[in-house]
């Protein structure tokens, strides 16, 4: 479904991705873990096409996106939904208008009431149906993320990318988001990639987990495999210990 082959990316003279390989299967939820600043968001941006790799290949649904024209990449992006780290709601539109934005912009044939009913349905999925008229500045962090998620799924994407969906949320809210991610997979059958450093969330939602370190995936496996990994880097990361190879 999604394949990254030997991807290199240098930003501001710093090597962020150094031969990253990733293969994500249809319908699975793949969680990328790793320390802050190791290039998790950069990996996501390469998948969405917001950044182009310096070398290497990104294949999505059998199409190589490296040399894609604007039309093609737009067509592909409409099959993807992205939940950004902070929700990234447009600040002068209320929740409903934010969720409706992709429809209003691209499906201009839809009538107002059709848009309204789609939006309402998506807001119900994320349990925000009562906050539709609020502005982004009046929402809590968790509500912003849920609104962002509603917007990400409004076009019925085949792939959803989550950038730290649970960071900065209380444990209860985190679990609500986790449940949402699981239900997206079950109800909509989407393929998901989730970037996080919240291990309890990773264990809960992941079919497979991959750890990124120095620009590469150094370990990959199911939650149990990662828990029992013998790799000292992975061991230190999941235990959160301050002594080990990560802090040397």
């Amino acid at each position: 479904m999604i394949e990254l082959k030997d991807v290199y990316k240098t930003l501001d003279g710093r090597k962020i991705l150094q031969g990253l390989n990733l293969h994500i299967r249809e319908g699975e939820t793949y969680v990328i873990i790793g320390r802050s600043g190791t290039g998790k968001s950069v990996t996501l941006k390469n998948i969405i096409g917001l950044m182009k790799p310096d070398s290497g290949e990104v294949n999505i649904m059998g199409q190589c996106i490296n040399n894609m024209g604007k039309e093609e990449s737009y067509a592909l992006r409409q099959k993807m939904g992205v939940l950004f780290q902070s929700g990234a709601l447009i600040n002068w539109l209320n929740v409903e208008e934010n969720v409706a934005l992709p429809l209003v912009e691209h499906q201009r044939h839809l009538s107002k009431s059709e848009v309204q009913s789609i939006v309402q349905h998506k807001l119900e999925l994320v349990e925000l149906e009562h906050a539709g008229k609020r502005m982004p500045s009046e929402l809590s962090g968790g509500m912003k993320k849920r609104a962002g998620l509603a917007r990400a799924i409004v076009g019925n994407p085949k792939i959803i990318l989550y950038d730290e969906p649970t960071s900065g949320l209380d444990p209860v809210m985190s679990n609500q988001i986790n449940d949402l991610i699981i239900s997206m997979q079950e109800k909509l059958g989407v393929t998901s990639i989730c970037v996080t450093h919240d291990m309890s969330s990773a264990y809960r939602i992941a079919n497979r987990i991959g750890m990124i370190y120095e620009g590469q995936i150094i370990e990959e496996g199911t939650a149990d495999q990662i828990k029992n990994s013998q790799n000292p880097i992975v061991k230190q990361f999941i235990s959160g210990s301050t002594v080990g190879p990560l802090t040397q």
């Binding site: 917001l50 992006r77 992205v82 902070s86 990234a88 447009i90 600040n91 912009e105 691209h106 962002g148």
Partner: protein, 268 residues
């Protein structure tokens, strides 16, 4: 001493390179914005909103600037003209100076400070909070969605504000002419009307054309800096500050060349 001067030269060099690099980005952004003309009808509402934000809300400050510009022009030119007993013509001098240079210029500076920096900050905030990325992911072109309506609004707004500043300048001049120079307003305005009815006024209206160009400059520069903002809130402030400086420079330079061109084409 030597190292610091070396550093200074190095920094200056880097800044000059940066100015040219930015110029390239700004020009490309301007061109990309121009190509969005087809969505004029679809963005009508946003354009109108921006028009109110840029135009109507700038009226109070332009009022003061317009009046005082006219006053200072009247004071300085009045004193000289009086020496030659030509004080009856103060109004004409002010009319021409306002319409050709001072009006467009002052308006551009006000818009740069009020609207340009706000635009850079707004788009910069959107950039660092990933809203611009989100637009791109939704296949909404940020240039068409954000920059285009702002540019159209400002290009309409600037000439209108210039007319307003010019009028206020002439009025402010009349006040000073009366109380400092001792010229009756009747004569002041009569001379202006006589001038306007006998001479070709193209050159006066050419100042409005400058307004459109300044509108383009202000939006392209501030949006370019906003869209390239980085490093959180600090980067947003930086974008706003740099864009204002850049706009001042471009307005100053382009104004000279436009004036020269206008005089050449329409001047006697």
């Amino acid at each position: 001493m030597i190292t610091s001067s070396k550093q200074y030269i190095g920094n200056t060099g880097r800044q000059i390179v940066e100015i040219f690099a930015n110029m390239g980005f700004i020009c490309r952004l301007f061109w990309a914005t121009m190509k969005c003309y087809k969505s004029l009808a679809f963005r009508g509402r946003v354009i109108l909103d921006q028009f109110f934000i840029c135009g109507i809300q700038s009226l109070p400050v332009t009022l003061i600037v317009g009046v005082f510009t006219g006053m200072i022009l009247a004071l300085q030119s009045g004193l000289i003209l009086k020496d030659y007993r030509l004080e009856n013509y103060i109004g004409v001098v002010i009319l021409l100076t306002m319409c050709k240079e001072a009006g467009p210029f002052m308006t551009a500076f006000i818009l740069a400070g009020r609207v340009g920096s706000a635009m850079a900050a707004e788009l910069g905030t959107m950039k660092v909070s990933e809203e611009i990325d989100a637009l791109e992911v939704m296949c909404i072109d940020p240039v068409e969605y954000l920059v285009f309506p702002r540019m159209v609004a400002l290009a309409i707004c600037a000439p209108i504000l210039i007319v307003y500043v010019n009028l206020l300048g002439v009025l402010g001049g009349a006040v000073v002419a009366k109380y400092q120079i001792g010229l009756e307003p009747v004569i002041y305005f009569k001379r202006i009307l006589i001038y306007m009815s006998t001479y070709n006024l193209t050159i006066v209206f050419a100042g409005l054309f400058k307004g459109i160009v300044f509108g383009f400059i202000i939006t392209s520069v501030s949006c370019a800096y906003g869209l390239r903002a980085r490093n959180g809130a600090e980067g947003v402030g930086e974008a706003a500050r740099q864009s204002v400086v850049y706009i001042f420079l471009l307005v100053l330079i382009s104004n000279y060349f436009m004036s020269a061109l206008i005089e050449r084409i329409f001047g006697s």
